[in-house]
């Protein structure tokens, strides 16, 4: 924890030094203080809180939907040979589409509103979960599965006894990737059409030349991403305590 703080503090000091020594002009690199002031200013006017809230809400809803569907589809594909033969070629093809290619289409179908952004984020969250979890389910040690069967376990009971605990680590890393992907898709969606949210704030700041706000938003995105990732860390601790 303390060791991990060394590099950010050093970066902050270096940043301040560069500004103080005028190594880079201020219109290119705002001072740490001015970034802080930009944040205070925006939040005093009640704008920053809304942007943060709406973006976080979009990510959480999209991530929840995408990763839940991802887990269900992964179970079907990973556990049943028929499910795999039926679905994995199609899903593989859809995954091959660069996900940002969906943005214009979603905009057209669902309008530039909440739905389109949430769907986009859900798509982004779906694939990491689906890919890691279905792969892990397929590779659960067949000897353990057989041992479960030998002791009279089958169907859902076998799933609870062997397969689910065996894939817990993959579920966690799938969720981690999915969350990172959700933030990525949030920004992409908001950059391309939004009137609120951190992505919108990025576009707006660029157009108005407010480099301090740009820095502020980038830092905020990093902090928010890290904070939501910590939630997954809590889930991980809980799951590994039971099944680690």
């Amino acid at each position: 924890m303390l060791v991990g703080a060394i590099v950010p503090i050093a970066l902050l000091v270096a940043w301040q030094l560069i500004v103080m020594l005028h190594l880079i002009p201020a219109y290119r690199l705002p001072s740490p203080l001015s970034v802080l002031n930009a944040g205070v200013d925006l939040s005093n006017r009640g704008l920053l809180g809304i942007d943060v809230a709406i973006s976080t809400q979009r990510v959480l809803i999209g991530f929840t939907i995408g990763s839940t569907v991802g887990l269900i589809v992964a179970a079907v594909v990973g556990l049943s040979g028929f499910g795999s033969r039926l679905l994995s070629p199609t899903l593989g093809a859809i995954r091959a589409v660069p996900s940002l290619a969906w943005v214009p289409l979603l905009g057209l179908y669902l309008g530039i509103n909440e739905d389109s952004k949430v769907v986009l984020i859900a798509i982004g969250a779906f694939f990491p979960v689906y890919t890691t979890v279905s792969g892990a389910l397929r590779h659960v040690n067949p000897q353990l599965v057989e041992a479960g069967r030998a002791y009279g376990f089958g169907g859902l009971r076998l799933l609870r006894l062997v397969q689910l605990p065996a894939v817990v680590p993959s579920v966690i890393s799938g969720l981690r990737l999915a969350l990172a992907q959700s933030w990525l898709f949030l920004v992409a969606g908001e950059l391309l059409g939004a009137s609120l949210g951190l992505g919108y704030l990025l576009v707006d700041s660029q157009q108005t030349g407010r480099i301090d706000r740009l820095f502020l938003t980038i830092i905020l995105l990093g902090v928010l991403g890290k904070a939501t990732d910590a939630l997954i860390g809590l889930l991980e601790r809980y799951l590994l305590k039971r099944w680690g």
């Binding site: 000897q143 041992a147 009279g152 376990f153 605990p165 039971r242």
Partner: protein, 256 residues
Amino acid sequence: MRLDAVARSFDGTRNVLRDINLDIAPGEIVALIGASGSGKSTLLRQVSGLDRPDAGTVTIDGTPLVGVDQRCAVAFQEPRLLPWRSVAHNVEVGLPRGIGRAHGRARVAELLELVQLSDSAHLRPSQISGGMAQRAALARALARGPGVLLLDEPFGALDALTRLTMQDLLLEIHAAVPATILFVTHDVEEALYLADRVVLLGVESGYPPHSGAVIRSVVPVPGTRPRDRARSSLSHLRASLLEGLGVPTHHPAHTF
């Protein structure tokens, strides 16, 4: 338990078992020996219902086997413990269904005591030795109080001393509740000490290796248990079984 003309082959061409006929009386202990790869584990899998023979039938108590039979309990060649469960919770997996919680816990504690693992009950499989894991797997198999106990090299990973203790333990359990036991071993000594009959599995001489193993011989072991481990009267049996395994003894039998 009866095996009637049981055969199993893989990939259509590789015959592993061919025409296996074996009758085992209730409460009998039968040792299965044979060279590595001769199909001992495969034969056990047919009896446990985990695998289905290509031909022939397995019947237990007069009823043919369909799928995994709850009257059987298996201890595999590998311990196959679930790595995320403690030793005690792994043994719990073997309990018969519908047993009450408290009753089940008491039974697990009793079994762990029996295989001398009470002190390690809370440890994970990765934290115990190979021999301890094998004992845990044995406890798991015993947990359901099975009518038929199928053991694939149950004492293979144990050190010599624990091995003897566990052999005696198995006999004690058997004396108390006489299950039918079919066990695989590489150890002729062990087979002669534990079993009523020793079954030698192997490819008949003069046949190609992929023609499938048959029962080469069934050797009744004289004497009632508990037996003296150093009985010299069995030395001729020992020599002939070793010979059957392809280990030429070169010694006159009586020097054993």
